[in-house]
């Protein structure tokens, strides 16, 4: 099926990837009947939310819930982002997935609605097909007759073969020129585009690998092609609407390509592209592949964004929008009204809400184990128990922080494995949120500008954060 199968684009860029907080997640960890396994593909517990996400995922794959929204709600550190990551992994390469934090829209370079529009258009793929007739084969020999008079038409013969057949082509002047230009010689594997006559060299045939003792390092060896000589090659590409926007936004010119900073895109450009894509769809030349837009910390969006999203969801080419928030009933940004999750009721009404619940002790232990494997830290069973204890009493994030730091300590004393002592040491070295605020409360009077924050305990943290710069500014004036 060589001629009917999409050839994956060869992007073999190796780069050093830093370990992210959710790098261990490879999917949602569901079986074929969408039942969540207790621990699979890096996901642990949270079974109800995962089952719900799995159902949504199936609907996304079938293209059924385009233009709708989903909300992941739950306390901090209960795996909302992990579930979103799992969904993106499970969707695969073919479906666009955009991951943004709500705070990204507050940029000085573009308006909030522009940032949102770009994010939305990054999440919509357009599927198109390219079809070419090519002649593909290994060069057996090339014969070129130079005219005896020195000038005039050159004629030549090209013999090509595959594993199945061999044939001779008569060459005209133009083909000879392009073969010369590509420096084709016998033993090369080449393709010739039937429509344009463009010759390209794929590499040298393995059978000819011993022709020369010294070859350039960049010489690529390939197998002699199989099957027929004249093939039909079909490739399906998925590009996002945003990518098309950027190139067609001519006012930006080449700057857009180099800086990566696209700036704002005119609405006329978008309209043109929308109508072109609609035309292609009409002609059966393109398919829309609605993807997923994930907005983390959705409570940071303000009322304008929410009403914009409300409207955008109704558009025919709208992606599935997944939001995550860790807020309860709180003020909607930009208003004085309170609403569940800090999201207006009318938008909430359009969403399906999935809730995540705090992990129990067993699940915490499993997560910590997965994380320590991910971060290449060997940890003893006892130390893991202590860490789990810490995770239940403080927070999961804090315990995960301790894995890496304890790993460093263990390495310093030249031990392969993290022991209880190492964990105790880092626990003493690094304060968790609770102990830190405890400390602040105790020594409040000895800190600077303490008179501002002498309220009740719950406001201590926020006031110390926000008032310090303000007070400093006052001092200068």
């Amino acid at each position: 099926m060589a001629d009917n199968v999409a050839i994956p684009e060869g992007r073999e860029v190796t780069y050093l990837e830093r370990i992210g907080a959710h790098s261990h997640i490879r999917g949602l960890g569901l079986d074929d009947s969408l039942e969540p396994r207790q621990a699979s593909q890096g996901m642990v517990g949270q079974q109800q939310a995962r089952r719900a996400a799995g159902v949504v995922l199936e609907m996304i794959k079938d293209g059924k819930i385009a233009g709708r929204a989903m909300l992941l709600a739950g306390q901090p550190g209960t795996g909302k982002t992990a579930i979103a990551m799992g969904m993106s992994r499970a969707l695969g390469q073919d479906t666009p997935f955009t991951n943004m934090s709500a705070t990204e829209i507050y940029s000085l370079e573009m308006s909030k609605t522009e940032a949102l529009t770009q994010a939305i258009r990054k999440s919509i793929g357009v599927r198109i097909k390219e079809e070419t007739e090519i002649i593909e084969g290994e060069v057996v020999e090339i014969l070129v007759d130079n005219p005896t008079t020195g000038s005039g038409q050159k004629v030549g013969k090209l013999t090509l073969k595959t594993t199945e057949m061999e044939t001779v082509y008569d060459l005209g002047q133009k083909m000879i020129d392009s073969i010369m230009r590509e420096k084709i010689q016998s033993g090369d594997v080449i393709t010739i585009d039937k429509a344009t006559g463009k010759v390209s060299r794929l590499g040298r045939s393995f059978a000819r690998a011993r022709d020369y003792d010294a070859t350039g390092a960049q010489t690529r060896f390939v197998q002699c092609p199989e099957g027929e000589l004249q093939k039909r090659k079909e490739v399906v590409h998925t590009v996002t609407l945003h990518e098309i926007d950027v190139i067609n936004s001519r006012t930006q010119g080449f700057l857009a390509l180099f800086s990566g900073d696209t700036g704002e895109i005119k609405s006329e450009v978008r309209d043109q592209i929308n109508s072109k894509v609609a035309e292609w769809r009409e002609e059966g030349k393109a398919e829309i592949a609605p993807g997923v837009l994930f907005v983390d910390e959705a409570h940071m969006l303000d009322i304008e964004c929410f009403s914009f999203l409300n409207r955008a969801l109704e558009h025919e080419m709208s992606p599935v929008i997944i939001m995550a928030t860790n807020r309860g009933i709180t003020r909607i940004r930009g208003t004085n009204y309170k609403s569940p999750h800090g999201i207006p009721i009318d938008l909430l009404d359009r969403m399906i809400i999935i809730k995540t619940t705090p992990y129990d002790e067993k699940e915490l232990k499993q997560i910590l184990k997965i994380r320590s494997e991910e971060e290449d830290v060997d940890i003893s069973e006892d130390a893991l128990k202590v860490l789990t204890r810490i995770a239940t009493e403080t927070s999961l994030r804090y315990a995960i922080q301790l894995i890496t730091t304890a790993g460093v300590i263990a390495k310093r004393r030249k031990s392969q494995e993290v022991s209880i002592e190492d964990v105790k040491k880092v626990y003493a070295l690094f304060l968790d949120e609770h102990r830190s605020s405890q400390y602040l409360k105790e020594y409040q009077n000895e800190f600077m500008f303490n008179e501002i924050g002498q309220g009740d305990a719950s406001t201590v943290r926020t006031t110390t954060e926000t008032s310090a710069p303000a007070a400093a500014a006052m001092d200068v004036s």
Binding site: M1, D3, N4, V5, A6, K61, D94, R127, I128, K129, E130, E131, E164, M165, T167, V168, D170, A195, T196, G227, E228, L229, Q230, R232, E234, V236, H237, T238, V239, E243, I244, V246, I247, L257, W280, E283, G284, K285, A286, E287, A289
Partner: protein, 128 residues
Amino acid sequence: MDTTKIVTCLADLEEAAEDILTDRQTIIDLDRTRNGNREALRHLQKQGDKKSWIVMGNTFFKLETESVEDILKKDQERLDKEINDLRDNLKKKMDKIKDLEGKPALKGFNLKPLNRDEMSAIYRTMGK
């Protein structure tokens, strides 16, 4: 699941796969004939004799070169059409196999192809 059902499933799958392999081989055979015909046509054009030999089955005929060319050209057209039909059908057969295996069908291959200008515009968006 009982054994007979499994066997029928596997048999169906094998049959579908065999069908595809047969088609693939047929395309190769047809392309071989096509290339042979092309070489012959080329040769006839160059030599310029009035009459030429042509072999059909295991019998040789000596015919007017013009009518030999005519026969070959018609044969080429038929081969082109047959190869294209086989290729178009391969997609449906591939979908059938994917269906039997319980895998999702390949997406986008039933689209009409973009023409060259459109494709070069798309290539620019992909940064090539």
